[in-house]
């Protein structure tokens, strides 16, 4: 289902307007579908039902992600996950999940508009993040597929290690996005990284 109304991301992107090239080392990935899912990990029936809908088994190991063809599931807590996809519309996914979980104690909540994703990649990505993130993001400690909710400077963020470039997805709440973007820009400037200028805002 496509929406008649263009969406606006917190960092100025407007849906269906041409985005800056994604080979940049620092850019927003706006308008991803983001669903917050809560269920009891001991409810194996529910887990199985979810796997059928998502095509991915929910990661039960803390601070890891599970990637499927069309969707990434990130562990947020022992009974909480974030589903991240660009292939499903939020409403449809919520409906499917709710249907699959009928009769189970579970919660499916669309949070797509409430947060955004910033992608940072390249050899200096670790140095940029180290300026505001206390976690050890060295590949030996935080390999691709790892995720962590933590603080980035003075904002909460979910970090996902995407690949060994290294590439990170940084998921932040909408109202914090301008701050996080400004902070990233500030930290990245000594490595000559900038958000691509966009004429869409």
């Amino acid at each position: 289902m496509s929406s008649p109304t263009p969406r606006r991301s917190p960092l100025g992107a407007i849906e269906s307007v041409q985005h800056p090239p994604q080979e940049a080392q620092l850019f927003e990935r706006p308008f991803l579908t983001q669903i917050n899912l809560r269920l009891d990990p001991a409810d194996s029936e529910a887990l199985a039902a979810i796997q059928l809908v998502l095509g991915v088994q929910l990661p039960l190991t803390p601070n890891t992600t599970a990637a499927g063809q069309e969707l990434l599931a990130a562990w947020l807590g022992p009974d909480e996950w974030l589903l991240l996809t660009e292939h499903h519309q939020p409403d449809a996914l919520v409906t499917n999940l709710q249907a699959a979980l009928t009769g189970h104690f579970a919660s499916v909540v669309d949070t797509s508009a409430g947060q955004t994703v910033i992608r940072l990649s390249g050899p200096s990505a670790l140095d940029v993040l180290a300026r505001g993130c206390a976690l050890d993001l060295h590949p030996s400690a935080f390999p691709p597929g790892a995720c962590a909710q933590t603080l980035l400077a003075r904002a909460q963020a979910l970090l996902i290690a995407v690949d060994a470039a290294p590439t990170f997805d940084i998921i932040v709440r909408r109202s914090f996005a301008p701050y996080v973007a400004a902070w990233l820009q500030d930290s990245a400037h000594q490595f000559d990284l900038h958000f691509p200028t966009s004429d869409t805002a």
Binding site: S3, P4, T5, P6, R7, R8, S9, P10, E15, F31, N36, R38, D79, D91, F105, A106, S107, V109, D110, T111, S112, A113, G114, Q115, D127, A130, R131, G132, C133, A134, L135, D136, H138, A141, A153, R154, A155, R173, R174, S175, F176, P178, Y179, V180, A182, W183, D186, S187, Q190
Partner: protein, 994 residues
């Protein structure tokens, strides 16, 4: 002649890179690689500063961060750096160096008159005088303040940038002298991630100042090779110019890296310093040791230096700090200095050695060179004023041995381990009689190595370092089977040190003997302190200010321990040392603050409509981290006028408010209703889906914590609104009860505050505007009554619409996904134009709610207010328990004279009461005057055409209509008013039900 004291060979200075800086305006020639101190010495400048209290002339004492005298001011204006040590400041072209703490000039300091008064202003003199007459104390204090202080603060904001970096490693090596370099190599060879830091510009520490050899190479060359090896290793971070200034619990080590632009003349660059927050698994402390000064009369004269520093200036900087030297020692190390001096062609007129015998390797070599050695001898006094001119010797028994002319007096009282970092964290240290100093005890994750352990010999430093590096790597779980070999250096057999604290007998008692050069604390001050009962080392420190200068007593404290022990006849171990506190060396506030300043000081949170508000000319207010539209003045309009216009627009037509900052929590699960019953004061289980209810949440102390509307979206799904400020605290509070106390309740909480934006449409025409904007929700009163919610679309966007009201008018709060909120806002605004729609901000919102007597948590309440106090007792369920209920029956909660919410109407309808103003029954000038309460909210109400106020008044509800007076900040001006019911407008709520 330029640089008369520069040696013509060797040293690590770059003779091909001459440069010039100024000292008090006078040009100083130097080379790249010099410090300011080495260049001043090369130019024969002995006097670099004046002491803190007596303004005595002072010179350079050391070649490092421990110097008590060499404080100077660098640069000027915004880039000036006060109180920097010449001994660690690299000489750079054009650098402006000035003395501190002398007036009018360094050579002629009028404040040295304090020195003449010294007999009458001993330690703590100010506690005993300057008390009379009492009114003159501010004058005395003014004088004291202006005499004190050192350098000057900059006069403009700091143009530099300070960086922060988090770092992790297996092994952090602090110090890159022989032990540190060996440790870092060993750890790296074991496969560990290593960070190695040293405070100096070049790695090598003592290796750079010695003529000894390591693995067959001259020591400096070996240091260079080891450094190069580390720099090229993949998982090793090499940080020079980097001081480890604090070691905290969890092994958090803070490093301050001075970047090239640490200089005040770095106009072209922008980075000042970088603070590294390192969390190593293991720490190797190779922090070395500080040479201890010795006591004798006038031991503060320029030209009196630490013996080791003399060697450093000779070998590393190719500077002879004098032309004829006397050395005074109680150990072998000064003999190495004697040999270095002799090598450089500086005659050594005498060595006074406290010990009766000195037969180690080095003394033998010195003796062989024909240097006059007096064993069992001490220096008891330095002669000369602006610079030392002679040393007066006598035997340890007190027999005079004559006076020896010299312009350089090198002293060595042994070495005290630089265990500051170790001790900061409260780690144990023990008194080591061999070195007459405290030494650190290793722990499972801190490995001391080298001179910090009390072992001064180069070969043992290299061995210890290698062992510590390997052990630390192994303890961090890094082991690749490689056993690193220790670099080799010749062993130098040495004989023991003989502790020496006090001059024999009462020698030269009349002249000051300084224990702490920076703070001008003399031996007599210590005696006085002990005499007056200030015996604990902390008492001595506080009474005399021992060790409280910017040098942190690095030289003074180890000396004082021994001196006090001897004066008290006690064991130095029991005397102890003042507690070591971070920072080891001072660190600028800006470096610690990092980037959390200016635009990045704190996140600015904005809603999706921010740009619209800005273009509409809104003024904003900070509400926590949120930036909210406050009011929207038209050109030329005052705030009062704008708010009045906005208020009337809502009351008569329609207004639109961005209310997106409210907290929103989805509460899901079969026990959601039961959960709400427990956290809210009123009953929830019977609320039907599709309906909304106002709820009050209390702390367990019975005081109002938060309020807001909650809607039952579906049978097992509720949406709770919280106040903006309490969005996070309420969620945390609810989760705490669910997770720790009510673990049997099946309820999930999910914050949707940011997903849903909230647009409030308020006013009699809001229904028409909503219809005009396009919605599939039936809006007729009977289809969509007050306190219900509907789901549908608004302006083509999926929406949850709540018919709730914080203004008392017909109102819709329209929740739409934040990424389409701007579109919906604009659609509503466009649709509203024909109806006179007016955007309104938080100020108008406050006026409207005050007209209706609605409270704002945090404004009417202050943590001491119960529901009944604000007239909401009807919301307290009697049929169930809820959080805070029990507290409401405590004696103080049922007092009849509790402060209660009332309205206030001034006699003069134009008079707006001051918020926070206090209320009395009868005005007067008596103080204290009993107060009945205070004004919590006060506005001019445009719709009522008069001022209104809300107030919390003791026993207020029982005395409605009574005459009261509100105080102003002018004690003779009182504003008369009468109390009234707190709902001023539409008391029966007819308007919101239409």
């Amino acid at each position: 002649m330029s640089q008369p004291f520069r040696l013509d060979h060797d040293g690590r200075i770059h003779r091909d890179a001459p440069l010039q800086f100024t000292f008090d305006g006078r040009p100083i020639d130097a080379f790249r690689g010099d410090t300011v101190a080495s260049a001043l010495l090369a130019n024969g400048v002995a006097l670099v500063g004046r002491s803190f209290k007596y303004h005595r002339p002072r010179g350079i004492v050391s070649a490092g961060a421990e110097d008590p005298n060499a404080f100077v001011q660098l640069g000027h204006g915004a880039r000036t750096l006060p109180n920097r040590l010449a001994t660690v400041t690299p000489a750079t072209p054009g650098l402006e160096v000035r003395h501190v703490n002398a007036w009018p000039s360094l050579d002629f300091d009028l404040m040295s008159a304090f020195g003449l008064a010294a007999p009458f202003i001993p330690a703590g003199f100010y506690y005993k005088t300057l008390m009379w007459p009492r009114r003159l104390w501010p004058l005395y204090e003014h004088f004291l303040r202006h005499a004190a202080g050192l350098g000057h603060a900059p006069d403009a904001p700091d143009p530099d940038r300070y960086d922060h970096v988090h770092a992790h490693c297996d092994v952090l090596v602090v110090g890159a002298g022989p032990a540190g370099l060996a440790a870092a190599r060993a750890a790296a060879q074991s496969g560990a991630r290593v960070i190695v830091a040293d405070e100096q510009a070049e790695f090598g520490g003592g290796l750079l100042s010695t003529a000894q050899r390591v693995d067959g190479l001259p020591a400096p060359q070996w240091a260079d090779a080891a450094t190069a090896e580390l720099s090229s290793a993949p998982d090793v971070t090499v940080l020079s110019n980097t001081t480890a200034f604090g070691l905290y619990e969890s092994n958090l080590v803070l490093l301050a890296e001075r970047l090239h632009s640490h200089q005040p003349d770095n106009a072209g660059s922008e980075s000042g310093a970088r603070v590294w927050r390192v969390l190593p698994k293991q720490v190797v402390l190779a922090t070395g040791a500080h040479e201890r000064p010795l006591l004798f009369a006038n031991n503060d004269r320029p030209g009196v230096m630490l013996a080791g520093a003399i060697s450093t200036y000779l070998n590393r900087y190719a500077v002879a700090p004098g032309s004829r030297a006397v050395l005074f020692t109680n150990n072998d190390s000064a003999y190495r200095t004697a040999l270095d001096l002799a090598d450089a062609g500086v005659p050594v007129a005498a060595i006074a050695d406290v010990r009766l015998e000195s037969d180690g390797d080095l003394p033998s070599q010195a003796r062989a060179q024909g240097i006059p050695i007096h064993t069992g001898a001490v220096v008891v006094q330095a002669h000369g004023r602006g610079r030392v001119s002679a040393a007066e010797l006598c035997s340890v028994g007190g027999a005079p041995l004559g006076t020896v002319e010299c312009d350089l007096l090198g002293v060595s009282g042994g070495f005290a381990p630089a265990l500051h970092l170790h001790a900061q964290a409260g780690a144990p240290m023990t008194w080591n009689p061999q070195i007459a100093a405290f030494a650190p005890q290793p722990s499972h994750d801190i490995h001391p190595a080298g001179a910090v352990t009390g072992h001064l010999d180069l070969s043992s430093a290299l061995r210890q370092g290698t062992a510590a590096g390997a052990a630390a790597a192994a303890a961090a779980g890094c082991s690749n089977g490689h056993t690193p070999a220790a670099p080799r250096a010749a062993e130098t057999p040495s004989s023991d040190l003989e502790p020496y604290w006090l001059p024999p007998g009462d020698l030269a008692r009349a002249k000051p003997q300084f224990v702490d050069l920076h703070e001008d604390v003399t031996l007599d001050d210590l005696r006085l302190s002990l005499r007056e009962g200030f015996e604990s080392i902390e008492h001595v420190k506080r009474y005399t200010t021992l060790g409280m200068g910017p040098d942190q007593g690095k030289l003074a404290n180890p000396l004082a321990t021994g001196v006090i022990a001897q004066l008290l006849g006690r064991d130095p171990a029991s005397v102890g040392t003042p507690r070591h506190r971070p920072a080891y060396s001072p660190v600028s506030l800006g470096a610690i603050a990092g980037r959390h300043i200016g635009p990045l000081a704190d996140p600015v949170r904005v809603t999706p409509m921010q740009e619209w508000h800005e273009s509409a000319g809104a003024r904003f207010e900070n509400v926590g981290q949120w930036r909210r539209a406050w009011y929207y003045p038209h050109p030329g309009e005052s705030m009062h006028e704008a708010v009045a216009r906005e208020c009337l627009a809502v009351r008569h037509r329609v207004g639109i408010l961005d209310y997106s900052t409210l907290g929103k929590i989805e509460i899901t699960g079969p026990d959601a209703g039961e959960f709400l019953d427990r956290v809210y004061t009123n009953a929830w289980k019977r609320l039907r889906p599709g309906r909304c209810r106002y709820g009050l949440m209390l702390g367990e102390d019975g005081m109002i914590f938060d309020d807001g509307v909650t809607a039952r979206l579906e049978n097992q799904r509720y949406l709770m609104f919280t106040s903006t400020a309490n969005a996070a605290p309420v969620l945390a509070w609810l989760e705490q009860w669910l997770q720790t106390e009510w673990t049997d309740l099946r309820v999930y909480l999910t914050s949707v505050s940011e997903h849903w934006s909230n647009i409030a449409l308020a006013g009699p025409r809001s229904r028409q505007v909503l219809a005009a904007a396009g919605t599939d929700i039936p809006l007729a009163r009977q289809d969509f009554p007050f306190m219900t919610f509907r789901q549908g679309h608004v302006a083509g966007v999926p929406a949850r619409v709540f018919r709730i009201s914080f203004s008392g008018e017909l109102s819709y709060e329209i929740n739409v996904p934040a990424d389409r909120a701007r579109h919906v806002w604009e659609a509503l605004f466009d649709a509203g134009r024909p109806f006179g729609i007016t955007p309104y901000g938080t100020e108008t919102m406050h006026v409207l709610r005050a007209e209706k007597g609605f409270i704002i948590v945090g404004q009417e309440t202050d943590g001491s207010v119960t529901p009944d106090d604000v007239g909401l007792g009807r919301l307290l369920s009697r049929r169930k328990d809820f959080l805070g209920k029990r507290s409401l029956s405590r004696p103080d909660s049922v007092r009849l004279d509790r402060k209660q919410l009332v309205g206030l109407l001034t006699d003069d309808p134009a008079q707006v009461l001051p918020e926070g103003g206090h209320i009395v029954d009868a005005p007067g000038r008596r103080r204290p005057l009993p107060m009945r309460g205070h004004v919590t909210s006060s506005y001019f109400s445009p719709v009522l055409g008069r001022s209104i106020a809300l107030a919390m008044i003791s026993g207020g509800r029982a005395t409605l209509g009574g005459r009261l007076y509100v105080a102003t900040l002018d004690e003779d001006r009182w504003l008369p008013a009468r109390s009234c019911h707190h709902v001023f407008y539409d008391p029966h709520g007819a308007r919101q039900h239409v």
